[in-house]
Point group: C2
Chain length 150, copies 2
């Protein structure tokens, strides 16, 4: 698997929040229901993104989380780094510590290329841009497809 489950959940939640209107806090319960993710588990992941400044949270009635300004302008790459860390984008495909262009593993050269194509894919569009596009394209965010970008 390319990304951990935590990471995938975090990305889906970020994408869920992306089209929401300015300043609105969305409860984690709503997201865990709509996205079919365990509430407490999702809470943990979003706490991490909040700690990283990519989201903001608010307690109490009408509380919830929202993308911070930083988060809105962030890309999925930033979310992945915050949750899974940078290993996928820095490590040798065979996990060899000394691997590099001087003394490469058999996969090194092609993996460097492929790796940056993954990176570019995740960096290409900001959440704000995906949200805009999503409203036209009705992207899927759930298994059942019952999510609307409004």
């Amino acid at each position: 698997m390319l990304l951990s489950k935590s990471c995938v959940y975090g990305l889906r939640a970020s994408l869920y929040l992306a089209p929401k209107k300015e300043g609105e806090f969305i409860s984690i319960r709503e997201m865990s229901d709509k996205l079919d993710i365990s509430f407490h588990f999702l809470t943990k992941i979003l706490q991490q993104l909040t700690a990283d400044g990519l989201m903001e949270s608010y307690k109490g009635p009408n509380g919830g989380v929202k993308l911070s300004n930083k988060g809105k302008n962030a890309t999925l790459f930033d979310m992945v780094i915050a949750i899974d860390g940078p290993a996928l984008f820095t490590q040798c495909a065979l996990g060899l510590p000394g691997c590099g262009s001087e003394e490469p593993c058999p996969l090194h050269d092609s993996w460097v290329d492929t790796r940056s194509s993954i990176e570019n894919m995740l960096k290409k569009t900001s959440l704000a841009e995906i949200a805009k596009e999503g409203k036209e394209k009705h992207f899927r965010l759930t298994a059942s497809g019952n999510f609307s970008w409004k």
Copy 2:
């Protein structure tokens, strides 16, 4: 992580065997020592590749494993499929079961591209070809770099 540890160990062992001369069985103990992988764990992984017909094994003194003809002409892709299964090359990046070109997730289109670039990277060269190339380029297979393609 792109590939499981089992898978990486299996690939490194396959690459270790690739340049060995025709018909020679290499003991798993030698490989586990040279590649710095737990003997019993590596044994399990190689049993899988043997069951899949990618390797052949022989018991008793001077026994060990070697690439089968199928294995020699196989690519790293085949090894990955045998160990990790096809999920990486078939699944949605966000793990959404219904995702496809009709109702895609936000990553679908770019992920389809990236996914096949990973696939192509692993399919590009057969183990036999990598072995040949390795003798010129002295590819790394260990953390310490103490592996020689002779």
